[in-house]
Symmetry: D2
Subunit: 362 residues, 4 copies
């Protein structure tokens, strides 16, 4: 509830965009896990601002500190306290919107809920909070490596109307070109087009949305907790708690609603003494439990609300105002959101792996 | 976790399709709520099988009993224990699939997870469990009536490729024709087409999916609990825990990903001293908190996995088998799922209404 | 929270003294556990009223029904729904106290909390609710039998000022005399004295309190979840949630406060390659985690508030009234509370056994 | 669970004795609370080491930093992240016990549970973790001030066999003499005797235990959540999670077991149109819910396990060893534990105050 996520593998996060920094406590991580610090930093680097011309120009290294929970890099079973200081917050940038409600931001709703709001950089509603998710996800990935073969791979499937079709190679290919790296789309031609579209939005002070697709390969069957904590329910909750998301679908998703059952059903076959399906419209989940096929889901991100254009709005007293577009902005959040989506997925799967240890007498 | 849903207003359900019945305990319902028993039964009647030619012909009245938690129909603050006996379970119908894995059912995954499975009618994975959701939702609606003006209204927006456009009247119109009632689509012409499509699927032993759209009007601003229990996250989790769902979107959803920020942002205006938005691409939620606009979301349901056609599959030993299509089936679940979607939405909102009482010092 | 207890092995209970009955849902019980129905009934029989002359004369068999969660007596991993109907509730007995507040009962506090109260037999505050605990505990004992060697044994250590000294034999001896059986004290002479004291209280319409001591033998080291869910914290919470309890101590308890550290510390020794302690003032717990020694704790029960004597009190309007002592009453609750204490202990240990499966990478 | 405490007002703590410091996240604190920073520091000062000759000579100021959750000292409803760095940890002091199990410490049990242990200063099992409880409690006290008249007052009732009788004045008197301040016992003569006893133990390298008694005055009726989250159950859990506690009793406690019901029952009277009791053997709780009388409970603390004497023990391989008594130690923990007991009580009451807002329809 509130600022904690997960049952057994659980994070609790704190911190605001323009406060001291972002912290996250990981509780329930099993003892005896070797922490790969460079990996955790590398995951943060995939999320950090200022990576390329098409992300916000706020420059921060997002270096993490680990305050507790380990002995020489080995987890002890006690809570891991991570901390990432804010180093490039410019609160002054926000004084002009102190009393204004920016369109499609959380300014108005935080005021309506709490009666007070930290206006500096969106406060707690800022996407800077996702640092906590990436750290929690990075440690979950390390745990999954130790206790499973699961590999989680996210990519940008679409930006605005530019859409990559099909699935990337297995295992996931290196993103080789600068465009691929900047956009995180494995299709090189599509990546280039996406890059130019986002860059044109940036120049125009506008923004675009997109879709991230994510798969988890080498899934064991049996993960997920019916009835109310089905795998897709927990995953959906995880994804829809990320800033700017407006939709989630698994397997055939909305598209599958225009199929018939005879077309849609995934048939079971025996493949070298393993039970497999010949198709994966289920997206790896049946009855809320993984079936061993690849977990396959999509997350929709709206175009960033922060744009460099003047917009009509009101202030806290209800007066009409013009919200000026100025400051720094991300013309498209999806490239930076890939490690966030993967991280949330990793935490869900790590939690369910632990829970599954308790679901049979032996 | 597992078979409980909600934080303060919480249900815990039990029971299987072909066991004794379905039970649900509602804990955390505030004291002093007058229970409208005919309303609760009416909600169950909207879900019950055998309502029309296009639903499963399993005939059950789904009459509920209330075992505890009230004094002469007034809640006492102690848990409400509801019970709906199974009266028309034909377990014999399932002996032929005892060891088989029906395609896109939960047979294989329950075995993989638990090492044992109640094969009769799908056991716990059966949609009969949704009785618990409808009861929990009906009581939540009664609570919302007392403590808010919120009105929750769901309808069938699409079946296969037949799609109603636009929004229904405010307040929601009576479903007048037999077709409208059977299909729960407020557009009379579309309802008739949908009816015939579903009926043709029924005759063919096939099935179709569809989309339910739901709105909540007269929403207060301030509901939802960032960061990990945002309104859309909890709603998404609620919906994706319903049988046969494959997707959830709120407001502009997946469609919104192909807009620009300038097009997508909802502008605030002052309307008779109330802060409103001129559009609702946010679907009533900003930053995970309701903004007072209508909550507006969609849920995708796959075509029913149970079809009256023979399909290839394997048994528990990996042998190839033919799963014969026989018994009773629902050619399209969306009409009966409308009260389930509404009920889950009502529980989420009731819970957040209670939580919001605790989020300010005064 | 509220009417649920436990993390992974979790019960949710409902029902009142003079309503339809008492129900309990056990969620999180692992799949593949053979349910020993006669054992569950035998545990209920140890708690049931009317067992002997020194318990309340309300006569009920407390026969249970199991509605869900098993296939031919084997748990399936889905929730177990148990139900025990009330068969000898005489609500008429309570009409005279409908608006009165009985001294040291929950009448006044339920009114103060909820603004409404089910006055019949104490409603939800009645000890009849402990049926749920005994059932939950019985299944937990069955689970512990399968996954550990833990043996849980409670007994009456004192009634009023009559106190048994020392520990009973290992394994726990059969209670052979009628006095032992009625009182549940393994010391035959003390049992006889306790019996006569309680019987004299019964004749006088008065009541007495007492202490239950409980041990768990063959404990594995490692159970308990610091920092806030230490073994003694969870056990204490479990015991103090039982009706009429006023105190809990583990190991040396309050008596240990008048020792010095040098006297109190339990020394470790190597006993046949097992690490043991030469004394057990810790009561089997160090740092909130079991150390392999016997778990050893005590629970204080106040004298029953219901007595057959007239007492001054007030009614809901603040008028002075005389609460007449009439009806049926238990002159001392501790004999019947032994299976309740054991049951709560079993649930705590079962939960921690499951949690411990998740606390190491391997 | 694990390192979180509370339902709506919830803390999550992290950090070890000899790591970087101790952190605590307070989630669920309502928005709009003015934080009194000097008060929070003063509470920490009541707990800090080195206060007087009779506490450990580890010298640390325990200055806190607040990283998030407020705007100019006013809570915003988002999580408060507090941090207290360790400034005087001497890890070298512990190298000699790296592989040894100190008697009645958590060394062995942490190894048994996690397979790894941070041996430096007891790691997570150190009482240094109680900093988190004091901070969480201090903020809870500030909240209670705003939303209630509740006043929480703890004191040392006994040290070894020295016991203060009766209750202190109302309101709680200033601790005027140095002895009173050092020992936190309001009886000046008893305080002096206690002081000298503790000091003699210090010189002898031994330790003693004691009892803290705590009351909460001006309690509203209605706090506590039956059946499993009764006020005494949650309080008991809170207290028994504190290091070195072995017992908890409320009201008449263990002593009450040797009374009869007629003697023990608290009679209700009408006092100026308020319903009061003429005695308080209930300790302010009936049926798990506060009745408006003073909450009155006791907590037993064992003598500190760390002593400056050589003791026999074993190492991790089972070899016999001598644990040498050296380093710094607290000859009696109860004086420093008073603010911890009060703080845990404050958190329980703040949580139940918030919960009670949700337990009636209006």
């Amino acid at each position: 509830m509130f600022n904690s996520f997960g049952s057994l593998y659980r994070i609790t996060s704190f911190g605001e965009s323009h406060g001291e920094g972002i912290g996250v406590v990981i509780d329930g991580c099993p003892a005896g896990l070797k922490l790969d610090f460079p990996f955790i930093q590398a995951e943060l680097d995939r999320r950090k601002p200022g990576q390329s011309r098409i992300t916000t120009q706020r420059k921060e290294n997002d270096d993490f500190q680990l305050f507790s929970g380990h002995l020489d890099g080995m987890t002890t079973g006690t809570p891991l306290g991570f901390w990432v200081p804010n180093t490039n917050a410019r609160s002054g940038d926000y004084s002009h919107i102190k009393d204004m409600y920016r369109p499609s931001h959380a300014d108005y709703t935080y005021d309506a809920k709490y009666g007070i709001r930290d206006f500096r950089g969106g406060g707690r509603s800022s996407a800077r909070e996702t640092i906590a998710r990436v750290i929690g996800g990075a440690v979950a990935k390390l745990l999954l490596r130790e206790i499973s073969d699961i590999a989680i791979e996210g990519w940008v499937e679409s930006v605005h109307e530019l859409k990559m079709t099909g699935l990337p190679e297995v295992p996931f290919p290196k993103l080789e070109t600068d465009f691929q790296q900047a956009v995180r789309c494995p299709d090189p031609e599509m990546a280039e087009q996406m890059y130019h579209l986002i860059d044109s939005m940036r120049k125009d002070g506008n923004s675009v949305g997109g879709v991230i697709r994510c798969r988890a390969r080498n899934m064991p069957a049996g993960l997920g907790e019916p009835i109310y904590d089905k795998l897709e329910a927990r995953l959906g909750s995880a994804m829809l708690s990320i800033n700017a998301t407006k939709g989630f679908e698994i397997g055939s998703g909305f598209g599958g609603t225009s199929m018939t059952g005879y077309e849609h059903n995934d048939l079971f076959v025996n493949e070298n003494d393993q039970i497999k399906t010949t198709s994966n419209r289920s997206g790896g989940v049946q009855g809320g439990i993984s079936n061993g096929a690849d977990l396959d889901f999509r997350v929709a991100f709206k175009p960033t609300a922060t744009i460099m254009k003047d917009q009509k709005s009101v202030d806290a007293k209800g007066n009409e105002v013009i919200v000026e577009g100025k400051g720094r902005h991300d013309p498209c959040v999806v490239p930076r959101a890939v490690p966030i989506v993967e991280g949330m997925c990793a935490m869900v799967l790590a939690d369910f792996m632990l829970l599954q240890r308790t679901r049979r007498v032996r």
